[in-house]
C-alpha cells in the first residue's frame, strides 16, 4: 500500500548511500573505561529507520547487540514522566543543558542535577521508578524498554557487574544528590544499581529505531500497537533530547543536525523525527565527547537529504495553526 513514504525505496537507497559514504570513517576509538566495552568490533556499522506506519529500512549490522549506556536515560525519563507529574519530577532534576560532560559533578542553584541526561540527573530520574521490591522496579524498567523496542530485551550481566564495580564516581554523584534530598537515602543505592542495569541493556540499531518510532508515534509502538509512554510526556522527553541528548556536543548537534537524539558510549544513537520516524545507528568508534563518529555523520547526512532539521525551510510548522486560521505556510521568494 502506498503510504506517505511512497514505496520507501528512496529511503532505502539513501541509507545505503550513507552506509557507503561513511563506512570508511575510522575516527574515534571504542570506549574502554570498562573492559567489556573495549572488546566491541570497531567496524560494526548499522543504520535503521522505523516509521510511525510500522515499516523499517535498514543497512549493515542491524542485528548486532550492544549496551544502551546513556541512551537508556531518555527512555527511563519518559517512563518517569509517564508515572509521575512532570512538575514533581522537575522539582528534583532540571531541564537545563549544562554544557558539561555527562559525568559532571556540578548541580544547579536549586541543588538539582542540571538535566536528566547527565549521570546525576539520570540516577535521580531512575529513583522515580518505584515498586514494592528491587525486582519489581527493575521489571518495570526492562518491560517498558522492551515494549518500546517491541521485543524482549535482556541485560548484559558482565557489563553490569563491571559498571557496578568501577562506578565510584556515579556512587559519589548518588550520595551528592541524596545529600540535597533529591533522592531518599533509603532508595538511593537501589536507584544507582538500577541505573547501572539499565545502561547494560542490550539493543540493536533496529531496536533504537523502533524505540524512536515509539516516541515519534506519541508513545505507542507502531509495530505492536502497545501504548508504552504517556502522550503527555513526549514533548518534554523530545525537548530534553534536543537540548541535552548529545553530551557537551548538544548545541553543535542542534545546529547541524536539528533532530532530538540521544547517544551512548557503546556507539549507539537514537533519533526521533516527531510524528514521522525513529532512527537508530550503531558504530562503536566514539569521539572525545562520547558520540559515535560515523553516527554523527549519518544523522547529518539524513537530516540534510530528508529535510529533518526542526528548523529546516521545508518544515511547515503547526498544522493546528494552519487549520485554525488559514495561516498557510509559504516558501518565501524574497
Amino acid at each position: 500500500m502506498e503510504n506517505s513514504f511512497g514505496s520507501g525505496s528512496k529511503i532505502q537507497n539513501l541509507l545505503e548511500q550513507a552506509y557507503k559514504e561513511y563506512q570508511s570513517v575510522d575516527e574515534g576509538t571504542v570506549a574502554s573505561y570498562i573492559p567489556e566495552l573495549s572488546r566491541a568490533n570497531p567496524d560494526h556499522f548499522g543504520i535503521c529507520v522505523a516509521t510511525v506506519e510500522g515499516k523499517t529500512f535498514e543497512v549493515g549490522d542491524c542485528d548486532q547487540e550492544f549496551t544502551m549506556q546513556s541512551i537508556s536515560k531518555i527512555l527511563v525519563y519518559a517512563l518517569a514522566l509517564s508515572l509521575h507529574a512532570e512538575k514533581e519530577v522537575s522539582l528534583h532534576v532540571g531541564v537545563e543543558p549544562s554544557g558539561d560532560a555527562f559525568n559532571s559533578i556540578q548541580l544547579d542553584k536549586k541543588n538539582r542535577a542540571f538535566n536528566p541526561m547527565v549521570n546525576a540527573g539520570a540516577i535521580t530520574t531512575t529513583a522515580f521508578v518505584h515498586g514494592a521490591t528491587f525486582e519489581s522496579r527493575w521489571a518495570k524498567i526492562l518491560d517498558t524498554l522492551s515494549a518500546a523496542a517491541g521485543r524482549t530485551l535482556r541485560m548484559d550481566e558482565k557489563v553490569y557487574q563491571s559498571e557496578s564495580k568501577t562506578g565510584h564516581r556515579n556512587r559519589a554523584l548518588t550520595w551528592l544528590v541524596t545529600n540535597f534530598n533529591q533522592i531518599e537515602a533509603t532508595n538511593n543505592l537501589e536507584a544507582l544499581e538500577l541505573y547501572f542495569m539499565q545502561c547494560s541493556i542490550l539493543v540493536t540499531a533496529r531496536d533504537l529505531a523502533v524505540m524512536g518510532a515509539t516516541l515519534a508515534n506519541m508513545g505507542t509502538n507502531p509495530f505492536t500497537g502497545q501504548s508504552v509512554f504517556d502522550v503527555q510526556c513526549i514533548q518534554a522527553t523530545l525537548s530534553v533530547m534536543f537540548t541535552c541528548g548529545m553530551y557537551d556536543f548538544a548545541g553543535e548537534w542542534a545546529f547541524r543536525v536539528g533532530i532530538p537524539a540521544k547517544s551512548g558510549v557503546a556507539g549507539g544513537i537514537l533519533g526521533v523525527v516527531n510524528r514521522q520516524i525513529g532512527i537508530g545507528t550503531f558504530s562503536p568508534r566514539i569521539d572525545e565527547k562520547g558520540n559515535s563518529s560515523r553516527g554523527i555523520r549519518v544523522f547529518q547526512y539524513l537530516s540534510e537529504e530528508l529535510g529533518l532539521h526542526t528548523f529546516n525551510f521545508m518544515n511547515h510548522g503547526s498544522s493546528f495553526l494552519s487549520g485554525l486560521s488559514g495561516v498557510e505556510s509559504k516558501v518565501p521568494t524574497r
Binding site: 529535510g307 505556510s329 518565501p332
Partner: protein, 105 residues
C-alpha cells in the same frame, strides 16, 4: 553525481540537469545560476531531488526574482514532480512539459 549542460533558447538560459540534485551536488547547480534573466532548469534526466536539492532550487529563485529574472522548470520526472507538489514548490515555480515551452512562455 550531477551534470549541468548549459545552452540558450532565445534569450533564456537552459540548464539541463542530469543525475541527482542533493547535498553533495547542490553546489554544482548553485554555481551555474546566472545573475538574472530567464533560467529554465530542464529536469528530463534528473531522477532524484533531496531536501538539500530543493534548497538549491529555492536559492536560485531568490537570486533571480529580486532582479526581475525568473526561474522555470521543465520535463519533471513523476517522482520529482510529486516531491515538488508536496513541498508546495510548484506554487512558486512554474513547471512546463518541455524546455522549449518553458523558454517561450
Amino acid at each position: 553525481m550531477l551534470t549541468v549542460k548549459e545552452s540558450q533558447i532565445g534569450t533564456a538560459t537552459i540548464l539541463e540537469c542530469s543525475g541527482r540534485l542533493d547535498v553533495v551536488t547542490g553546489p554544482t547547480l548553485d554555481a551555474k545560476i546566472p545573475d538574472g534573466g530567464v533560467v529554465v532548469l530542464d529536469m528530463a534526466e534528473l531522477n532524484y531531488v533531496s531536501s538539500a536539492g530543493l534548497r538549491s532550487i529555492l536559492q536560485a529563485l531568490k537570486k533571480l526574482q529580486p532582479k526581475g529574472g525568473s526561474l522555470r522548470l521543465s520535463s519533471l520526472q513523476p517522482d520529482v514532480q510529486r516531491l515538488l507538489e508536496l513541498s508546495g514548490f510548484l506554487s512558486l515555480v512554474k513547471s512546463f512539459p518541455d524546455k522549449d515551452s518553458a523558454a517561450k512562455a
